[in-house]
Symmetry: D3
Subunit: 316 residues, 6 copies
């Protein structure tokens, strides 16, 4: 029997029907020289690879990336991963009464709420120069922040993922500064708010949060670009030179290791904390994301972004 299921509920052998968003679509040639469509489709609960066998040249043009489709198909398994063999597929029409918003994989908090909370943290910064720089940059970035992911394919690669990442880091930063009370909270909050801000230019994202690298992103990277942004805004606002320098140092050093893009390591405690808070949030996101799909007592498949570790879900 055909069941209406969300992606997270799929099991090998299911015959399913549902609504999904197209994240990627490509016409390919099988080794027996027949055309087929290779897609990635998603809903709120996850994403899955799908195939449409034996289709016409050009059929991919009818289904642009980002459209909401209705699908009927079978779930099969290939090398330990589920796959969706699509038997029927069409674009959603008005009669379906479906809203694409309900199918987008995004941060679990509403963008407006997240922005408000982030903006409160900006207000907590006491040093005028630091606050002014951060506030100007955050306000100018607001429009993109509302939907930008934090990555093309790594952690927080979901709609509004970048803001969600910043928000959880701010919460963590605030709590850590209660334990490590010597830390300069102004600097720590500013570092968190600005560290990834030029991902907004390093990536080109559509409103669904699907992103590609920009030209400048590839040639310069968000760290260099972020430092430049701080220089510009800092000079416009006539901020203190040392403050500009230190904010740039925090952005420069937040990846920590040269091979991950930071030619300098943090030379201030707030920079050190920024790095670890960043790592913790990225790793907790990835781990949660992979563990949600397995049963207690099981291991995940090796996870590339975690150096091919397999994660284990405890059963107690």
């Amino acid at each position: 029997m055909v069941e209406e299921k969300s992606i997270q509920e799929f099991k090998s052998g299911d015959e399913i029907q549902g609504f999904f968003i197209i994240k990627k679509i490509e016409m390919k040639l099988s080794t027996n020289n027949k055309n087929f469509l290779d897609l990635t489709v998603s809903d709120k609960t996850g994403e899955i690879n799908g195939k449409v066998w034996g289709c016409q040249e050009g059929q991919d043009k009818d289904f642009p990336t980002g459209s909401l489709i209705k699908v009927r198909g079978n779930i099969t398994e290939w090398k330990g991963k589920l796959q969706l063999k699509i038997n029927l597929m069409r674009l959603v029409n008005e009669d379906d009464g479906k809203n694409i918003e309900d199918y987008i994989q995004g941060a679990p908090i509403k963008p407006e709420e997240m922005f408000d909370e982030i903006y409160e943290y900006v207000q907590k910064i006491k040093n005028k120069d630091i606050k002014n720089i951060v506030e100007k940059i955050i306000l100018e970035s607001k429009e993109k922040l509302m939907y930008y992911p934090a990555a093309k394919s790594l952690h927080h690669a979901i709609r509004s993922g970048l803001m969600y990442h910043i928000l959880r880091m701010l919460r963590t930063g605030e709590k850590l500064s209660e334990v490590y009370a010597n830390v300069n909270k102004d600097l720590l909050f500013a570092g968190i708010l600005l560290h990834d801000i030029e991902k907004l230019e390093e990536l080109n994202s559509d409103e669904l949060g699907i992103a590609e690298y920009s030209k400048e992103g590839q040639l310069l990277g968000h760290i260099s670009m972020g430092m430049n942004k701080i220089s510009q805004v800092g000079q416009e606002l006539g901020a203190n030179e040392e403050i500009i320098m230190i904010l740039k140092h925090m952005v420069l050093s937040h990846h920590y290791e040269p091979e991950f893009g930071s030619p300098k390591k943090p030379m201030i405690p707030e920079g050190e904390l920024l790095h670890y808070i960043d790592m913790i949030d990225a790793r907790m996101y990835d781990m949660e994301d992979h563990l949600k799909n397995i049963e207690p007592g099981e291991f995940t498949a090796p996870i590339w972004s975690l150096e091919n570790r397999r994660l284990y879900k405890t059963s107690f």
Copy 2:
């Protein structure tokens, strides 16, 4: 004029007098073939290298490690480091009315208070098996925990340093679990409480918190030893097999990288957090420790334990 100063206040050119503890003492031969004493002395505020020039063979025997001495001398500078040239030195006697307790470099919180707070965290563990294992080990370790340092010469190498390290990690762990609410607090607390527990056997420490590696420490290391401890206690208590295994996995993986002693990386989120909490506490300790001696706007000398970084103290 001779001033009574604590070590942290020393400046090159001072003529000082004060009371200090001997941490290391060795008779050496200068290149012009004269005996001299080479010492490390400390008080609550820090430690310094000292020399007694032109002394008698055997004079080092009169001043055993750990004794409190009265010293008069001059502060000089050698390769950018202060040095104490000792002109007069004798053991403290009753008339001095000094208490060695007041000169020991130790954690800033009293051991009993720290233990009580740590023990409260033990009580917060809800899973019976986890709690039983942790409680038994912590209670059995209490005596040593009261004064053990966390290292021979790295971070927290002070009296009661290990407990101070554990305590701040517990506080951090509790706060992080408010942001990352899926985390199993029982596991996280247990991991923090047990991760370094066999430093109590890896090191041999005197009551001043001055430590050397034990034989077993060198041949096996505190990670292997800690896993063994958990096995033993877990079996005695008839604890659930998976719980024993997971606690051992947390200890095994907490150094994260093979070259730092962990052959496996964490495969559960609580192990991942444990590692980062450990790093944060060690780094914040080291950074505070080095920054306290410099002025705003200055850099420290390169710090070995921080990959030879020089730290900067902001002036705003």
Copy 3:
């Protein structure tokens, strides 16, 4: 003409018939959306990948792993490797008069003989404590030792491969201790006998010697598990503390490099020798295994387990 051949004799173009064991079997979907069976089959002389094209959903259930089958098919070549295209295939029945024992790839010496020789080495250990620990562990492990491989897919991944590995290492150890006469033979033999013993728990193997990692194997690894075993047995027997510690050190350090699982390098000559004897036996096994299939004057394909080296077979 259809020939009855063993796997080692296969050549591209052959039409063959024979009896084989199924080591792995999986139903897959070809890129033209047809089901096919993908198998690994083996006999005493080697293993080969096979395909059954155009088969029914569920057909894989009729042929469980470990069963002996009769096959007719063609040998083809794919990317420099032979492949078996299966035309006919059925389970062996009584009339075939075949014994699965004759088709299992296993150590070239009978398990009972190997065990006896290994046990003789145990008897050669003079130190009572060492002997008692080793003897207890070896006797308790006997049942599994009889058929366990030494690995899932690396060297000695054959039935009784672990025991064969231990045995050849003992022979080598004995000979080396004639050249390096200062070496403590008791320790060396004990180290060899125990170094991999917890592969019996790190892996779950069936009686054909086909293995998967266990949960504990993945989370802790055979080195940690082996150390724990020695602790337990040593304490039960009330053995000398230093002996327990040294035996654990040998297990801990036998992989030599942190990135291969040993956080400590050997600190005793017997541990150093153990490592090299282990390496030699693994490498000689792998090299023999790959060279047997090529002609003098030829190179093998790159071999993954030998860092992608190609081996050469001399022609003189």
Copy 4:
């Protein structure tokens, strides 16, 4: 007999007299508790370490860094290196009729000549935007360029060393672009002219070319600072966006390896060439510098900046 010699001519055993510049001076305490002066002195031909034994506290204040002194002393050898034991030393006075200019170790071409030649290269740039950016930066930097070294202690750590480095690279770049004719000369020249330009801010140098790192230099480094400079000037001049981006990319990538400060590798041929031209000039400088002091058929001591290689001077 006392001979008037330049530093390059010193031999162990010489009794010498001459005029030298003080590059570094420090009062130290010998292990037998006597004060001595530890100096580095230089003339046009090289530098040497010197000692003044048994001197008064404060005597170092009479001889500030950068002063020209008259010295009489003996040349001795210590661990394979020559050393100057100073017997007499005084500041130069008018009667000596000496000009400090004649004793400074500097580039072998006059600064004005070098600047003129460099400026000619600027004029050879045909693209208006590139030329404008480069010209503005070079002209604004002229004053410092006249005397800045290229490093604190590595290659070209001499007066006007940075300009000499740039000049020889331009000559090389021009010649290479004759062989590799597809290369965009405008870009190549611009990259050479700008790649190290912020060494003028990364270092603080006096007019003798003796330098220390600046605060910003340590926290940000000349690569980040150079990119920022190009952004600023480019925007002021309203230059084409892609040109600004590419010039920044060349600065960003010219150290080539992350661990040497470049988070991106060159993605254009001109960036690739820039890197190799930079390496060649640095290495040829270092090699010449070390080989000039040895005889044909001999090896130098291990050279730190050349990964501890010893160089050989051929005798044919």
Copy 5:
């Protein structure tokens, strides 16, 4: 409409016809168990992968490597790479009036011209011993030099590629020795002429410049083989011992890093230059080769031989 196009002009969707050389041909089995031919074909402008679907067993034998064929087919795209689906294919016959020479991908200068220019450089060597060794080796190698590529699949893997590589390096070397005038030109030219000379024995190449590794090449490598060659010829000619040694040192060290085959780094400036000249020529070749296929303002795909960098083509 079917167009006559060269490979560089192909675009996805084209229906083309043309003449090409077979560089590689293999019969394969598709996953739906049908035979197909998998080829690499080339002309002067590049190479492309091609497929002939549904062909007969043995058909590959009719089209040996190195033959010139006439093809009709369609250009498709597969994973971002163009592919040629061959519909018709036959060997060229006399009536076609085609000359294989016009389809071989080779150096852009005629072999005879290149050899003459190289030989002129030999004549510029003034030192008799160096000249004699180089001349003898170059003359003996002439026949192979005329067509040998410099590699199996890396830079300069085209007909006469090795000579083209040597020639451009000689031109560069000559120019660099104008800037770095202390360099011994005899040595530099000799090093360039001999550094890769045993690629003539490390590889076995056919006259089209298509090569495989020889047995000796795999077991010893062209560096060891080249040193041996110099020893032999040097001794035959009774050359000066130091000269032989230095020439061998240049060959030994020209790959610079142990992991690329040089156990020693250059200890003479000429060896240092040789390395960088070699790198520059290899890199410029690779970059030109990849950039020629993209439009200004675009990036290439990641390039394996350039550590997976993507190159950018500037649009100004």
Copy 6:
């Protein structure tokens, strides 16, 4: 009381007298500007650093390296190492009746005996070509083999150390080939006999076994030189090409890792064994050498040649 002791028996505080050989002697200047002699002296049991304080310029010339001296002095301790403070010292004269032979640290077997045993192994080689090459080289090397050490300062840096190293490796090789019976003994013996043979030219040793690197040794290394030797001799004797190539491959690959000098890893089992046999002998030598000086239950100081491991001496 003054005691006659050998170096191994020295204890801190001893007043000793004895005969020793000078291995190194240098006149130095103390930091208080007095001359002193810095020596290394040895006898059969070990070596020790010594000082003669307050001596005359030129006094070192009276005591050339390699002379036997009579010494009276005191044993002191400096940084955990014993040192000999020499009070009286003179060259041995006829009346002393001492033979330098009795004081040289050398292999524990007589050179002639070792050579005879080595030569027997040569005779065991059955393949004529292999035997001829090996025999010629060994016979030609005999004179130097009698006294050459295997290193300047690493393992087997004693008189006749190279031959001792070869001999124990041959014994080990013979035994291993009993366990791994497929191994070609001719190749294995030849590889062992030739692998380090050009240390005879890489080093310049005096008859006491004290060595320095030769010019060729530094520029080319014994691996390259050894390959060349085999080529030469092989060609002279008209040996089979493959045999020459394989013997060279064994020499080339015996250090195994590029960073230790082998650009290729062994591609034949005999080469693999050669490497491990070499490692075992070097390590067993070093370990024995360091363990002989400590008591059971103790650790050595960190040993540089063993990656700074500390060794432990078991007490059972």
